[in-house]
Assembly symmetry: D3
Homo-oligomer: 157 residues x 6
């Protein structure tokens, strides 16, 4: 039976052994979005043309957070990521869509790094816009693609 790999047979948490896994190229893509009032979205859109680049700040925060993943998620392995991109796009009338791609040549997957980049980018948008919109919501954060490693390729349908 498949089971939670982060616990041993007595239910104790552990950082599991990945030493025997081969080094392969691993890619993960995660997505999410943040919903907001349409006036807030309009304000972010203005920034795109030069007055307060909310999405630029969020992109950077997401990239930097991907590098901190193993500090935040207790049982994640420290990894030397080889690539991180975070893409944010205005989705009228009321959302910003976020997609993060993370790559590694290594022994373990990078799903958590991609998911962390998406959520921290979303949190940063919340932070920058909260003075005008407290009701924003982060939605639908999930893994959409994973490749490399023995479990093969995963694509969210």
């Amino acid at each position: 039976m498949s089971d939670l790999t982060h616990f041993d047979d007595q239910g104790r948490a552990a950082m599991v052994d990945v030493g025997a896994k081969p080094e392969t190229e691993r890619v993960a893509i995660a997505r999410g979005r943040i919903l907001m009032a349409s006036a807030t979205l309009a304000r972010i859109q203005e920034g795109q043309i030069g007055k307060g680049d909310v999405l630029g700040v969020a992109r950077l925060a997401g990239i930097m957070a991907a590098k901190r993943t193993s500090d935040l998620i207790p049982l994640c392995h420290p990894l030397m990521l080889s690539k991180v991109t975070v893409d944010l796009s205005i989705a009228p009338p009321d959302a910003v869509n976020i997609e993060a791609l993370v790559k590694l040549t290594g022994r373990t997957g990078v799903e958590m790094e991609a998911l962390t980049a998406v959520t921290v980018a979303a949190l940063t948008i919340y932070d920058m816009c909260k003075a005008i919109d407290r009701g924003m919501r982060i939605e639908d954060v999930r893994l959409v693609h994973k490749s490399g490693g023995k479990s093969g390729t995963y694509e969210a349908e």
Copy 2:
């Protein structure tokens, strides 16, 4: 017109001055949930009775992340939080609900700390269960209560 406080009048990002604000007791409560297969939820529930405490690990990760918020969110002020709790509850058939409460006696609000605690707790659940369920999704992360400070009390309806 109300505007994005994290940018100056030329659109440049800044960590805004809170020095003139009075020290008051500030509270923020955020909520979110993570959706999963019901078999995954059942597996988490078993842990509650002694074999791999997913929610205990996620709770701790959320509390520790609240303390790291100003490292993650570029324009957040460093704060000396006076209280952090993270509450996770099984919501059959397919969800774990997460609520974080953060308190501070200080000059700025703690919404971001509460939202960060919720999202990192959710990410930790994803990490611990991803071996059996890659399709989990983080949903509906939002602020539900905020008090203290000159903007008064906010309650999400």
Copy 3:
């Protein structure tokens, strides 16, 4: 003559060159214990059956600290650990025994990571129990096993 490798011939501290060392599998095991009043130990033991899991929190703190070792110990190399486990056991009448195992496929040993995991787990127990017992003491923290690397296998007698 054998000497302190972290200093050059003029006595200046340095992070020494490990680039020429081969990548081998390296393992280190460290142990220690924390002594306390027997009433404190009884209280921890209750947690094992569901009311405040002191050892679960300490285990997680130890694992996370192993990952932070190169941030704490000035001349330690940053490493991509492949496995970390921390085992805590009740040793009546007055002690908790702690053992940490760390693995790496890399160019330098992981003794410091194992020793750091043990001490931070012990400090976390102190923190969680200090309201009822200020007299706890951390004792006998040492390396018990080390393998991999050109210095061969070390076993504490």
Copy 4:
């Protein structure tokens, strides 16, 4: 009955509320020692006169670690320490004694910061001398003094 303050009545870990506590001057002193071969101690002593200052490096590591305590110990509050000193002294034939003093004007005690400074200073000595002595042991790390706060002054007998 006195109990573990870091858990709520259902046994869930939390960072407890210190917001209602008054700001007072708080002091904590912790001590510990590291035992080693007398040849190792002799080698450290040479450094005191200019060739590889092991104790100077350990002192700095201890001071810096005190500032990181809330990152390491899961339920510790972040604190703005007002003073940290770490004192290391050669104790022939086979030990280095370590004492750390930490001060804060704030709402919670600084025992954990003092204990963390002592243990990280000891770990740093281990790191710097491990090439010549793998059998070193950290011993007798404990709180010796605590003042400030409503629990009054504590002196280890």
Copy 5:
């Protein structure tokens, strides 16, 4: 005789006691610049109009670094900064000028935070432009203003 406050009378480094100092508003302004080929400067200037905002990234890096100062500078106190701004301006034909302003209501000055913000902003410019210009140089990083605290106001002439 005035002396180095970070050492005790036996020359041992310490984080000095600021607990007795009053909380006052403290401001520090630091400046520096990075010199480069004029073609590099032209390339940065293009980014200002939408294609790769080097200065925006550097500004954010400087602000975030100010918050990390006590992690980087061994004897700096951890501080809850109330304001950080970093201003970067194109200075033809071959320089970017950087100015950081940091504010705190607290017990110790914020010079180091302002100087750290300037240098990390400069390093970030180097990083982003190094593919086209390895010869860039960071110059003239210094404190230009300091106020608050018992030593009074300092203005660089």
Copy 6:
């Protein structure tokens, strides 16, 4: 045309893909200096003979900062450095010269790590001497050597 590699073709910042680069030995050497009053330099020089080792503290701060580079510089890759040395030398009548050497067997260069080590060592000297000399200035921080990787060897003329 050669261009800024940290931005994509739409000008968005990214951590670029180094996964396809071969692992080679890479070395970078950076230099800089800090100017000060000659009385300040004299005071530092005294420390060399036992009363407050400013340069020893700065050396350690520089080494530790090299390890934190990817935390500070937004688009830097996390790296497992194999060697870091920081060399500080008194340059009468008014300067301390700083040189950092960093080595890595990996897929990307270590210029930023060497430059970060130099600047943080300089900032630490500023911190330790600021009580007696506020007018110190950091000057001439630049890359002097880089080897390994496909761009070949760079030597500043």
